[in-house]
């Protein structure tokens, strides 16, 4: 019997609670009366995954069954979500690989020869061969990669982009040429959070900078309240418009999956359990891990955390027309993640974990930490934000991992140059974005190395635009002072100090809400 998520009120009987902070965690004794949002326990998974996949492909929603859409001599393109999902990386075999195998089996039966598989990564970094192999599985990899038929989408290759027109609001729609000219475009997605999926898959995943800049900008993000709620998100409205335009000329067969939130396997499962239910073994594991992390050098800590694989279960799979499929997907995501809470708080506390979508197999630099906390976690709400307007956000992260120049070269310059001048997303956009987006060195690294596109750090900053607009103050507990101040924030060493610093804005006994994630949760704030 899976228990729903709920809101705990800290009282004298509550033990200290777990707070993630980068490559580590701490136990914090929250003030009495703090409300803590716990996500629901993992929901029931489908009994037979392969059977479920087959069912979905043969009985799709608002579409003909997949075999009927396949015929000999056709151009088939299969696009899939890149390694930024799920978080942490799924234990082999990845669900996308299993789905692609079944799709290809049906394609082979229909006699399809011209198949290409594209990692729909838009302006994210190219995946390495190993990473591609992890996602699609060994069989698919061996059949397509050496022949060059399995590749990363290149948004800066003019020969391989097709401009399909503009939406009614004048937004350019430019996507992969191969995808646009296919007889059938199958998209395989993993809907980790409610933001993903729907028209965002093809409309953004396979789009070029020209398209993306229409909705990845400060103004759009401020009006996305929140971007986890596609009905109230400006970004999604734009992506949806683009998606509909694409749908007019490209046949899209969307396959969306949802996973349960079994993110930590043994012996780290105590990280998912409710603290007062920790057995003696769990408490020992916690103490052991904390002491081990304190002793371990940074490299070892990095390895320990980044080698974690999630033993996810499949909770649902739907295939067919984009919009009805996404409707069902969102319902399933809500079932796994939604928690009701009454009223906003003065202070919002979040622990930023070691992993975000943009540092898989990489380091979390301060900008990514800010994006994870003030972008993703802040926006994990329906209705209204967890914290009131003008309230304070307290985040936990050491901000000391530095920058990875292989994956995030443009971030360094962004941090050194752009943030030093201004931290206002509305100011840096017009002044610097164009330069970074068109810099030939960054484009070269994006196309040939494993670097995020030059413009990417700006997107990270736009992601936090809504939070910056809404909040009165942002304080990082345990954060490096200089990194915090470069980003325009403040740093404190303990929670008590942070609350002391915040008392100017919210008084000496503010109402506090702590989001107890990971695993992901979606706060339905009434």
């Amino acid at each position: 019997m899976t228990r729903p998520g709920f809101v705990l009120e800290v009282d004298d009987r509550t033990p200290p609670l777990l707070v993630h902070e980068g490559l580590g965690f701490r136990l914090e004794e929250f003030p009495l009366g703090t409300r803590v949002i716990y996500p629901p326990e993992p929901v029931a998974t489908v009994p037979d995954v392969d059977q479920a996949i087959r069912e979905a492909l043969l009985n799709p929603v608002d579409s003909e069954p997949l075999p009927e859409l396949l015929f000999a001599g056709m151009k088939l393109t299969i696009a899939f979500d890149d390694l930024s999902l799920p978080l942490p990386t799924m234990k082999a075999p990845d669900i996308r690989g299993r789905i692609i195998e079944q799709v290809l089996e049906m394609a082979a039966a229909a006699g399809v020869d011209d198949v290409e598989l594209i990692a729909a990564l838009a302006l994210h970094r190219r995946m390495t061969a190993d990473e591609l192999r992890h996602v699609v599985g060994e069989r698919v990899f061996r059949s397509f990669y050496p022949q060059g038929k399995l590749y990363n989408f290149d948004a800066e290759d003019p020969a391989n982009l097709a401009h399909l027109g503009t939406t009614e609001k004048g937004e350019d729609v430019e996507i992969s040429k191969r995808a646009a000219e296919s007889d059938l475009l199958v998209y395989v997605n993993v809907n980790l959070v409610a933001m993903d999926g729907g028209h965002k898959s093809v409309g953004v995943g396979l789009a070029s900078y020209k398209s993306i800049k229409h909705h990845h900008n400060a103004k759009t993000m401020v009006h996305s309240r929140s971007f986890m709620d596609h009905k109230h998100s400006e970004m999604h409205s734009s992506a949806w418009r683009m998606g509909r335009l694409i749908g007019e000329s490209v046949k899209v067969f969307q396959i969306e999956t949802t996973l349960d939130n079994n993110v930590f396997g043994k012996p780290y499962d105590f990280l998912m359990k409710r603290e007062w239910e920790w057995s003696v073994k769990d408490q020992a594991a916690m103490l052991g891990m904390r002491r081990g992390l304190a002793l371990a050098p940074q490299k070892l800590r990095h390895k320990l955390f980044h080698d974690l694989r999630g033993a996810y279960g499949l909770t649902g799979i739907n295939a067919g027309a984009v919009e009805p499929v996404h409707e069902r997907t969102v319902r399933k995501v809500h079932e796994q993640q939604r928690v009701k809470i009454e009223g906003q708080a003065d202070v919002m506390v979040m622990g930023v974990p070691y992993l975000g979508p943009y540092n898989v197999n990489s380091t979390m630099n301060p900008i990514l930490a800010a994006c994870m906390g003030l972008g993703y976690y802040f926006n994990s709400y329906l209705g209204q934000p967890v914290v009131r307007e003008g309230g304070v956000a307290i985040l936990y992260h050491p901000l000391d991992e530095g920058f990875n120049t292989l994956h995030h070269p443009s971030y360094v310059d962004f941090y050194e140059e752009v943030l030093a001048e201004s931290t206002d997303p509305h100011v840096i956009g017009p002044k610097f974005e164009e330069q970074f987006a068109t810099d030939p060195w960054y484009i070269h690294l994006y196309r040939t190395s494993n670097a995020y596109h030059g413009v990417h750090p700006f997107y990270m900053w736009y992601w936090i635009a809504h939070a910056l607009d809404h909040l009165g103050d942002v304080i990082w507990v345990g954060g490096d002072r200089r990194a915090a101040s470069r980003m325009g924030f403040r740093a404190a060493s303990t929670l008590q100090d942070a609350l002391e610093m915040a008392s100017g804005a919210v008084g000496t006994s503010p109402s506090i809400t702590y989001l107890h994630n990971p695993p992901h949760l979606l706060a339905d704030v009434r």
Binding site: R3, E9, Q283, R291
Partner: protein, 308 residues
């Protein structure tokens, strides 16, 4: 650096000790009370007790520990073992239940080869709630946990039978309060029909007198116990559980009658339907208990001299 490591360790341990109330019971925060999971029936699995290593240990425990103590406290008379000589393969022993002495009585009355491969169905909530009760009873009496509250048995008895183990089942489900036979549940009949295994009815007398409910040790004076094994009952082709179950009870009733009188008379009475009701006379409770506290007299004709 190292100095702060030890200081932090102490701090961590202190925080855990305070937060989780080491030395006290863990408490649940008030707002989390509605989500406390219902109590899990702690049933410790005991597949290990049927491995060869465990069987060796049990042999020792029973032969060197249980048997001498048992025989020093009670006297036994066993009849009907020749029916077992005619059988092979696993059977279900269905016996009446009046005392904790029934299990050692039955096990120690069986021939060695049978005893080594016989498990006793025991209430999971009574014998398997703590690890030491689970280990102790598994080792000494070769118990097998069953869920007696559900009315159906849990899966393992069938597997155990299929593995070639015989099973002792007390169809009453609990010890009798006054020594007389109570209602028989369907479990034994169900297993016999499901697994196609014969049921050997077993009737014993005297255990209530020696050690009734509530007593922790047999009464003084080496009381007499008797146990009689009957002919096996095999479910007929197409016979349902509901039809088979009463046959088991009747067989036990007949055996008790035979025990107290003789075989032929009991047989005649069973044909004419006059077998005395094993659930006892419809009289006041004290009289029923009075009757049960008499140990059976196995030498009714013997002349006992007065001590001069």
């Amino acid at each position: 650096m190292v100095g702060s490591f030890w200081k932090d360790t102490v701090e961590d341990v202190r925080r855990a000790k305070r937060g989780w109330r080491w030395g006290h019971r863990a408490q649940v925060p008030r707002s989390a009370e509605p989500f406390v999971p219902p109590p899990s029936r702690n049933v410790y699995p005991n597949d290990w007790s049927r491995t060869p290593a465990a069987m060796v240990a049990r042999e020792f425990a029973q032969k060197v520990g249980l048997e001498p103590v048992f025989r020093s406290q009670v006297r036994t008379r066993v009849e009907g073992l020749d029916t077992l000589a005619r059988l092979s393969g696993p059977v279900i022993f269905a016996a009446n239940h009046a005392s904790h002495l029934d299990t050692p009585l039955l096990l120690l009355s069986l021939p060695d080869e049978w005893r080594r491969r016989t498990a006793v169905a025991a209430a999971a909530d009574y014998f398997f709630d703590t690890w030491w009760r689970a280990v102790g009873s598994s080792l000494l009496f070769n118990t097998l946990p069953i869920d007696r509250r559900g009315g159906t048995m849990s899966a393992t008895p069938g597997e155990v039978l299929r593995d070639g183990w015989s099973l002792v089942i007390f169809p009453e489900g609990t010890r009798s309060k006054d020594g007389w036979v109570g209602q028989f549940r369907m479990g034994a009949a169900y297993l016999a029909v499901e697994q196609g295994v014969p049921v050997v009815p077993v009737a014993h007398r005297g255990t209530f007198a020696a050690m009734p409910r509530g007593a922790g040790w047999p009464a003084r004076g080496r009381r007499q116990l008797t146990v009689r094994f009957g002919d096996p009952l095999v479910p007929a082709e197409g016979e349902s559980v509901r039809q088979f179950a009463p046959r088991i009870r009747d067989a036990v009733a007949r055996l008790l009658d035979e025990e107290q009188t003789d075989w032929y008379a009991a047989l005649r009475r069973s044909v004419s339907g006059e077998t005395p009701d094993p659930s006892g006379p419809d009289v006041a409770q004290w009289r029923r208990v009075w009757a049960s506290t008499q140990s059976p007299d196995v030498e009714p004709g013997k002349i006992r001299a007065w001590r001069g």
